[in-house]
Every structure is written in C-alpha cells, then in structure tokens.
Amino acid sequence: MSGKQLLHILPERCTGCMDCVKACPMEEPAIRIPKTPGGWDIVVCRHCSPAPCVDACKFGALWVKEDGTVFLAKELCTSCKACAAVCPFGAVFLGPTGEMVKCDLCNGEPKCVEACKEGALLYGGTPDKGLARERKPVRELLSIRGFV
C-alpha cells in the first residue's frame, strides 16, 4: 500500500512493560510510557496532518514524507523547541544533549509495534477500519456473540 501508514495507539491494552521503549532504535527513545491513575499512557508522535509542529518549525526541519510520516531532520533542527511548544501531546522530546527527539516510524517498520506483545501499538494503511474490530467493548460484544 503506497498511501498513508498509521500508527494506532490503544492505551487500554498497555501493561507498562516498556518493551516498546527498549525496542526504539533512537539514542533517546521517542516513545514514553508514563503511568496514569487509570493505567499506562502511550506518548508517541501521532504523525498528524496537518501537523501543528510542521507549521511551527521555521527552520524547515520538520516535514511530511510521502507515506505520511512527520519527519524531523536532525541536521536542520536548531532545538528552538517551537515544535515542542505546539505539539498537543508533548511527543517531541527535548533530549539530554539538547537535541530534539521524535518518532520517525523507523522508515515504515516501527520496532515498537513489533515489540509490543499486547497489541497496544498497531500499524496499518489507510483507509482503516481496524479500530472497529479492536476496541474493547466491541470485542466483549463479539466474544459474547461467539466471534472470538
């Protein structure tokens, strides 16, 4: 599929095992799993479109690749943090060396998705109805009705 590829995030399945964090090939992981009162949250770039971070970057360091990945080019980034200021999820991290860290979907083969045993991270093309099958109440319903 040549269209957009999406990373789907199903936090209710996350058990906080941090396998995705360990699997992230970046020097500083681009995915963070903070504990929330109700379980675990998954903070990782959603690859929005039109992405506020791309709009805010004045240095041309952020752009949308053909497959829909919002890409941060380290070489052009000055760490002005404007992207971090407008990202609604805090998904652009300021790394310990001052470099900005953001998910690049591993060039189309996200390692975190491979690592997640719980299926809390999914990767698929568009259009996508995957979530219709994946959400909990529906699944419960499906199991009640003999689907699974």
């Binding site: 269209g3 957009k4 999406l6 789907h8 995030i9 199903l10 936090p11 959603r46 929005c48 479109s49 039109p50 992405a51 506020p52 829909g68 609604p88 999820f89 568009t126 259009p127 996508d128 109805k129 979530l131 219709a132 099958r133 994946e134 959400r135 909990k136 109440p137 529906v138 319903l141 499906l142 009640i144 009705r145 003999g146 689907f147």
Partner: protein, 184 residues
Amino acid sequence: MFVLGVIYENCTGCHLCELACSYKHGGTFNPLLSRITILTKPEVQTSVQVYCLQCNDAACERVCPVDAIKRDKSGAYVIDYSRCIGCRECAYACPFGAISFDFKARPIKCDLCGGEPECVDVCPHDAIIFGPEEKVSRELKRAKATGVAYGIYGGAESPYRRKKAEEAENFLREIWKRNEGLEL
C-alpha cells in the same frame, strides 16, 4: 433528541448501509469509507453494527486537543475539518471503534446525516432505527421482548418487515466480489 439504534438480530450483514453511507459522504461506494461498520462472521452467521452512539459527554469530544469535535443541532458530534489536525486521538478514545480513517488518514465518523440518516433508509431489515430517544428505546425493548435482539433466540416471529431481501443479497454478492480480501 433523536438517536440511532440497532437491532443486531435483524442485521444480515448485507453491507448496504456501508455503501449508502460512503456514497452519501464521499460520492463513492466503498465500505471502507463508511461511518458505520458491519462486522460479519459467516461461520457463525452473525453480524454486528459498529456505529457512533453519539454519547453524552463523549470521549471523542473530550480528548480532541483542538476542540474540533462539536455537537450539532441534530445531536451528532461532527468533526470540523478546518480545525482537525489529524492526530486521530478521537478514534483511539472511542470505546466502540466508531471512528475510522479515510484515504488521507483523516478521522471520519457518523454525523447522523444532519438528521436524516441514510443507513436507516436503506436498511432492508429495519436493523437500524432512528427517532426520538424514548421511541427508539421502546422499539429496542420491543425487539428484545419479541426475542429478536441481544441473542435471545426462539422468541416470537419478528414484527419487523423483511423488505427487499433479494436485493440486499445481490448487493452483498457484488460487494464481496468487488472487495476481495475484505475481512469484514
């Protein structure tokens, strides 16, 4: 307030509503682009409609980081695409999986067709009903009482008309052919 209700037992998995929905919203017949999703499993002969319930205090509205989801007059939560940033947060928040994505990866969801839902009109088995809240819940109760809903088999004959059944079947075959590999 008008609401949409579904009677699972009446659904034969003909996918007509999906076709009608995608046509109404995007001008193409493509079940992948419809706002309602019918999950069918032929082996067990069941179908389930996955659709937007237009919840009160809806999760999708609450999580949208840019306030792009608003409830309109007809009670539907509608996405304002001039604000939407395509983060898909609404889809992940919806407990029913009622929000899916179009070719541009934009979230799409039921808008009740501005108060005249096409899926209701097209459903040959009255498996989708639309009306004032009390009326719909009455209908659902009646369906339940007559044993057509919620897995209660062996009840009385369904009071719901089975209209255009052959038509639906033909349509189904066509969709099946056109969407090879569609595991719905």
